[in-house]
């Protein structure tokens, strides 16, 4: 058991931090980037590709690097630290992860190679009006006619759905179950719009739109989707702890520098104790997220599901606590778009609602309390 990074992981973290600090170390650069479509920097994305980050999770045969969850987590934490708007979680972890898990060798080579090289952006078109973090699809249905497939229905919100070159779409299969399909972005009707965290989302309408089944046609892939969503939750958790760490640091720095009543705010114990409580939330969430990241390595979907729910719950509570307090302890300045701390709160809110809020995870966990006597975090794998 070891919670520290090895030398290579340290080197990866330093390299990613170097790149992202150059891009967004100055918060104003992030603001300018998110003001114009597509809401992230194509240049930074290309640099991430050149550094091998976009291919990190995929096997070398598929044009990737073949790294493990800890390496992906390191990238996510660094993205969180500067609230980078690049759609790493959506394109690489979720959409790319599904192609890697379910695609044919040919699809993997074609899609993941281009994704890793930064040449083709993927989006996972899964959420539907009325759906709440389910692993199944019902608002888009798939039809087969002589070996050709088409999709009809609506997906929304699809993060980076308007910019994506290729959509990975979940759809209800003719015989029931949820399949996955590859759809050319141009073939769908897409309406893009900005989201409150500086990102972009879209409504994607499919109307007898040609689609290629991902992997073997007609297979129910709901459990693969569930596992990728769980991985996404854990990686979103990593992004969130990066963001929380910086939000806390900004807050403590502010308490030391801001003067009211002739003294720094840090002389008011009422405020310093609250910063201390933020730290407690952050450390506990970090522990659970790091543990969950290591559970991913076990490869046991049930263990990953459980770990993702536990990490998700802790991150939900901690994210709200740290985000809300960060604004409150800054006073009015924390409410402004120009000052970074509010964006950290926005991003924390987004990460949580993208993949399941605290109540969602708590519901799942409470349904399973009789499955075990006690929890042994070291018993997995």
């Amino acid at each position: 058991m070891d919670f520290t990074y090895d030398d290579e992981q340290d080197a990866l973290r330093d390299a990613v931090r170097g790149l992202l600090t150059k891009a967004y170390g100055d918060f104003e650069q992030r603001r300018q980037t998110t003001k114009v479509d597509p809401g992230f920097s194509e240049k930074t994305w290309t640099q991430m590709a050149e550094m091998g980050l976009l291919g990190l999770p995929f096997s070398e045969d598929d044009g990737g690097v073949g790294a493990g969850p800890v390496e992906i987590a390191i990238v996510c934490q660094e993205l969180g630290r500067v609230v980078a708007p690049e759609p790493y979680l959506h394109a690489v972890v979720l959409a790319g992860g599904l192609v890697a898990a379910c695609g044919s060798a040919e699809q993997r080579g074609e899609l993941l190679g281009a994704l890793s090289a930064g040449e083709r952006l993927l989006a996972f078109a899964h959420d539907e009006p009325g759906s709440r973090w389910a692993a199944t699809a019902s608002g888009v249905s798939a039809t087969e006619d002589g070996g050709s497939w088409t999709l009809s229905g609506t997906k929304e919100p699809v993060v980076q759905g308007a910019r994506a070159d290729t959509l990975v779409v979940s759809a209800q299969l003719p015989d029931g179950g949820t399949g996955l399909f590859v759809v050319d972005g141009e073939a769908a009707t897409r309406t893009g719009y900005p989201t409150y965290d500086g990102g972009r989302a879209a409504k994607v309408v499919l109307d007898s739109t040609p689609a290629t089944p991902l992997g073997e046609p007609g297979r129910d892939l709901a459990s693969s989707i569930a596992t990728i969503l769980d991985l996404g939750r854990i990686m979103a958790g990593n992004q969130a702890i990066g963001a929380m760490e910086v939000a806390l640091r900004q807050t403590t720095e502010y308490l030391k520098s801001r003067k009211q009543f002739g003294v720094p705010l840090s002389t008011f114990q009422a405020l310093t104790f609250r910063a201390a409580d933020m730290y407690v939330s952050l450390e506990l969430a970090t522990s659970l997220v790091q543990w969950a990241t290591m559970v991913v390595e076990s490869g046991d979907p049930d263990a990953v599901r459980d770990a993702a729910a536990r990490a998700g719950l802790q991150v939900s509570r901690a994210g709200r606590h740290v985000g809300q307090e960060a604004i409150q302890l800054h006073g009015g300045i924390g409410m402004t778009a120009e000052y970074a701390v509010g964006s950290y709160t926005s991003v924390l809110t987004m990460l949580e609602h993208l993949l399941g809020d605290g109540s969602h995870h708590l519901t799942g966990l409470s349904e399973r309390i009789t499955d075990h006597e006690d929890l042994d975090p070291l018993a997995i794998a």
Partner: protein
């Protein structure tokens, strides 16, 4: 002790309910209920409808448009208004500067400003806070120096809510730099079209433009625009902030949104966790509403109830908690904050997160919740 409303108050309540739900434009009330941002015109129209019926400023002296109501009736008026989705009269006019002018203004100032203030013919902005004077308001630095018959004002105000619509701004300015900081402050009324006055927008985290910076460069203000005595601004400000805090707990609005949340939750409302969360919020709100009623009933004998400090503190916390619930109800759809009219997601879901983020302000302005706790611990608990 007695719980039921008297027959008279009951009738009053019915009257209010009928007026608010039938006389104020349906479009405006819909917009409030859906959580859409109101235009300036809508806010003005609504207040003028109320004012015509004598319902915009019932807490003012009767000579200036007030009603001789009991505190309980005022409470009922306020709650019914919020419940019906009627925008409450612009606080800067109705709750802040109006009562101040009625109390401290010269007869000339009263006649000049009060009727227009009640009718929102003048839109007031509040120019108190400065970059270095937030919770510590008395450290403000904007100066006013006498030059002939004018004051010459220099400095910067910030966080001026809806200053982009403002016709006039009531400010606190330093008129004597040589005395204890609270003692050298005065209140000045300034025409926002005066040369040398600039309003600059500040973008907030929900993407909206609600607050502004206001800069004063040698702005000339006629001497008669001083409110009350020279250097008595701090006393006036305390009076004003006291009014700002009363009625700041929007119990009626929060109740309306919670009821809406319940109906939007539909079948999900029976999920144990969600049901428990709603039940707890309902209970907290009930406790708050009853506290408000206790305060109202008590101040009928003239003395303010000490528990009134609970209202701002808890009122804003619950307002924020209900906005958080709405985001969670919207689920993944809450992400689609910028979706337009042709979105496949219900319109209410688009507003949930910007509203949640925007409402973080409620525990910061008007005396932050930390300052409220300080009032409770110092003034009430004697700590």
């Amino acid at each position: 002790m007695q719980l039921a409303l008297s027959a008279e108050d009951q009738k009053f309540r019915e009257q209010m309910r009928t007026f608010f739900t039938t006389e104020v434009s349906e479009d405006i009330r819909r917009a409030v209920i859906e959580g859409r941002e109101l235009t300036k015109e809508q806010i003005v129209e609504s207040q003028q409808t109320l004012n015509k019926a004598g319902l915009a400023v019932p807490h003012w002296p009767t000579e200036w448009g007030g009603q001789d109501w009991s505190d309980l009736q005022r409470h009922i008026w306020n709650e019914e208004m919020q419940r019906a989705g009627v925008p409450t009269p612009l606080a800067f006019n109705a709750s802040m500067i109006g009562p101040v002018l009625a109390q401290f203004g010269s007869q000339e100032i009263k006649e000049r400003f009060l009727p227009k203030t009640a009718n929102l013919d003048i839109w007031w902005s509040q120019g108190f806070s400065e970059p270095d004077a937030g919770s510590d308001l008395a450290s403000l630095r904007t100066t006013a120096v006498k030059d002939g018959d004018d004051w010459v004002v220099n400095g910067q105000k910030t966080w001026t809510t809806l200053g982009q619509y403002g016709d006039w701004i009531f400010t606190l300015v330093r008129t004597d730099p040589d005395v204890k900081k609270q003692a050298g402050i005065s209140m000045l009324l300034i025409d926002m079209t005066s040369p040398g006055l600039t309003v600059r927008p500040i973008e907030l985290i929900d993407g909206g433009h609600e607050v502004n910076e206001v800069w004063f460069e040698d702005v000339r203000v006629p001497a008669e625009n001083l409110v009350g005595e020279l250097n008595s601004g701090w006393t006036i400000a305390k009076f004003l902030l006291g009014n700002e805090r009363v009625g700041v707990a929007p119990v009626g609005t929060t109740k309306r949104i919670l009821a809406r949340a319940k109906s939007l939750a539909g079948e999900r409302a029976s999920e144990p966790l969600l049901a428990a969360r709603i039940a707890e919020l309902e209970n907290d709100l009930l406790a708050l509403e009853l506290t408000a009623l206790r305060v109202v009933a008590h101040s009928a004998d003239g003395e303010p109830h000490p528990a009134s400090s609970v209202l701002k503190l808890r009122g804003t916390e619950l307002q924020q908690a209900v906005s958080e619930l709405m985001v969670d109800l919207a689920g993944p759809a809450s992400i689609a904050s910028g979706a337009g009219g042709d979105s496949a997601l219900d319109e209410w879901t688009h507003h949930t997160t910007p509203t949640y983020l925007n409402l973080r302000k409620a525990s910061i302005y008007g005396g932050s919740n930390e300052i409220q706790r300080q009032i409770i611990s110092r003034t009430i608990l004697g700590l």
